[in-house]
Symmetry: C2
Subunit: 468 residues, 2 copies
């Protein structure tokens, strides 16, 4: 008998009625065998087949929107408007990556040399494993960017569905399989497995038939799988997006401080701060600290506290808050106002405390940030350098691009925001969602934007002699 | 006292007069410290600085051409004409990668959203380690593609010079250092170390200050360093080009068989077959086997045998010939006609023998190939699949692109050649020099052509609010 996965409705603190069986190793191996067959037979090699598949999939997703919403709401407690935004992004990504694949295909040039003609064409790397995020059950999960990027590149995909939204993931899987079946495409193009631990996910990455991997999640989870992938007989491209502190620096010359602080607090409290780009640490000059504390505290107090996505996430958040509180490194400003919600707020501390307590420089996933007072910009620069790779770094103030921090921010982050907030990752060609290690496992690639399909594309040169 | 490295003139079997000290760990750490300083200070960040540096380096290389030739000839025994070809390729690569970096810089687009403007810009990954090839002392060594690609991307480079041409490598280093000094550029932009074993090279890749690596050489060497790089606290992009069998299939419908066979034998004997793209295994239909054996044997007999680059390479070649001979899997056609040269030729064997003797499917670096007789194209296809990743695969015959082997060839190789020979890697935009593992460590990247600089480029998005 398999184990079963239960999901939760966190706004009411109840277990949802349906539960879902954990996949067996045999089921996994069947997916792997079929994915290999699909790849070897070139099932998605023809760009017209790929485009057609993605177009039909788009229609099927739209047709099942309300079914998706029902499971999504039940498994995440997220709002309808958040669902709408994420649903739109899911479709937008599908269309963007479909078009990017066509553009890549059409880029084909040739060099005519005296004795030969050489062209270069993109090919899929092979069957890809995808580990979706807990916090985006649509846009970074089974119907999400990594899956659509791999499909657009022509790769079969096997998804390890996230157990926190197992129902949404299974319905997504059903939609993809239905589309394949309707179009008479090879069923090995898509596989789906569920796991309540690490066994199936590890076996998936360990298997030599998998030729690439996309992961969104924690540093620990991402690196454990990365190490497995790299220590296989044949190592493979493995892109992991592993979260970030997302430092924000307020410069002494900042105008309209209050409106910046309001935007930052809103960015921290929205959907209980469960975003990989949530501002986790705000550096504020001593001269502005009193005003900043008051303004932030008031804004946090205005916002209603929220439930988190899953009891496990909530427990981890509360544990992290305890770890940080136990340092006694500063004063806490926390508030909670509703049942089944978690406290939100910040801790005011000093720049030098960051050196004393390592725990302060690790991500807290949830609606909390550190407010770090600094009095010396040089010392702040060395603090920022020590924080290592980040998804984003934000500089707020007048002429932030001319500050000496700008080059430093570019060195440590995948995206640099000038007088804005880091949440809200636009799906556009210029988006780089990744960054130096440990924000991602490979700073050259992005998880969002057209270039994200390049994680799953290899090239072959084809050389003909004249007259061949 | 350090150990010293000696080099050899293989055409006369003599040790060259100069010897070169092995670098100490302290010297390596000084290079690493300086490279980090150069990177952090943005020494090559400005594209104009980079272009100017590469232009001046070009001039300096041209100015020292005869000095380079004198050492090159002494350390490799290669001909003047081979030197000329390689020297031209070295300069050609430098110019191409310089221009590719400028083009990348100019590609900058922006997306204007309702609340923000986002651009994306290329940045260097950081200090890069380069391990050059023994068989290209200029074009894939200290003045070679990996170094120029990393410079073009804006990265400081530390080269572990190949001990077989230590003098050429040191002179190359002197030319680069002289250029930096003339232009008053940061000396940390280039570092050079020498080693007679693996200690310094391993310490280089192990060091957390290195952020990327380019390697050209053997499978064993490449993978040993790859594993070190991936098991560091911070794993890094590591591109290794590790050689290949380069299968050639002669189709039953081949016309002008003799001229194809002559071209293949010439490709095997030129410079004693010391090319990573040398044809290592030729599949020939039974119907054409007698003619093929006679023609190949005659052509091998016409060509004078050659010395190899280094006594170590020669010993390895002779050891591999012995291993293959000891299988008794077929008849040898070998010839040797000069002192200080190695035998060249082929072994005629049957397709089924490849399954019995694993040693037959490993590269023999030198002027030798297997001639494998096949009678069934389906069985040949499964043999080819089993050979795994290749730098190149060649199909000779009428309409090779329409043969069922074409898709298979694209699946296993980085470059597919139709009715030609695999040697002669053109430095053009369409060149893909890499291929599925184990031909390279990452099938998405190439070691040759403009795209090769992408191995060393990361991106950052810069997001401004309107009015910032």
């Amino acid at each position: 008998m398999p184990n079963f996965i239960e999901t939760y409705h966190c706004r009411t603190g109840t277990v949802n009625p349906n539960s879902y069986p954990v996949s067996s190793v045999d089921e996994l191996y069947k997916c792997l065998e079929q994915a290999t067959e699909a790849h070897d037979s070139g099932a998605l090699l023809d760009i017209r087949v790929r485009t057609n598949f993605l177009n039909e999939l788009h229609e099927q997703i739209v047709a099942r929107k309300e079914d998706l919403y029902n499971l999504y709401e039940r498994e995440t407690s997220l709002s309808r408007s958040r669902f709408e935004t994420e649903f739109e992004r899911t479709l937008n990504q599908l269309r963007l990556y479909r078009d990017a694949a066509s553009a890549l295909e059409q880029e084909r040039t040739e060099s005519v040399l005296t004795d030969r003609i050489i062209t270069k064409k993109p090919l899929p790397v092979g069957p890809v494993a995808v580990f979706g995020a807990s916090n985006f059950p649509l846009a970074y999960s089974t119907l999400g960017g990594d899956v659509m990027g791999a499909f657009a590149a022509g790769c079969p995909v096997i998804v390890k569905g996230h157990p926190f939204h197992a129902g949404t993931s299974l319905l997504s899987s059903e939609i993809i399989r239905g589309t394949l079946s309707k179009l008479n495409l090879h069923p090995g193009i898509f596989g789906h497995v569920l796991d309540d631990g690490h066994r199936i996910g590890q076996a998936l990455v360990q298997d030599e038939r998998i030729k690439g991997c996309g992961f969104t999640g924690s540093f620990e989870g991402g690196m454990a799988l990365y190490r497995i992938a790299q220590n296989r007989k044949e190592p493979i491209p493995f892109f992991a997006e592993m979260g970030s502190l997302n430092p924000v620096v307020i410069l002494p010359n900042t105008e309209n401080l209050n409106s910046h602080l309001h935007a930052l607090v809103d960015s921290i409290t929205t959907d209980a701060g469960q975003f990989c780009t949530k501002p986790g640490i705000i550096f504020c000059p001593s001269a502005l600290i009193e005003e900043t504390i008051q303004t932030m505290n008031a804004r946090f107090n205005q916002a209603p506290t929220q439930p988190m996505l899953h009891p496990t996430i909530q427990q981890r958040y509360e544990m992290r808050l305890n770890e940080i509180q136990s340092t006694n490194a500063g004063e806490f400003y926390l508030k909670i106002d509703q049942e089944f919600s978690v406290p939100h707020g910040f801790m005011h501390t000093l720049n030098r405390e960051l050196n004393h307590f390592e725990t302060l420089s690790h991500e807290v996933f949830g609606p909390f940030c550190l407010l770090v007072e600094y009095d010396d910009i040089k010392r702040l620069e060395s603090t920022l350098s020590a924080l290592k790779g980040q998804l984003t770094t934000t500089i707020i103030g007048k002429n932030p691009e001319q500050s000496t921090l700008f080059n430093l921010a570019c060195n440590i982050a995948g995206r640099v925001i000038l007088s804005g907030v880091p949440t809200g990752v636009a799906v556009i060609p210029e988006m780089h969602h990744g960054g130096p290690y440990p924000a991602s496992s490979d700073s050259r690639f992005t998880a969002v934007g057209e270039a994200s399909i390049l994680r799953f594309v290899r090239y072959v040169s084809v050389q003909k002699s004249h007259g061949t």
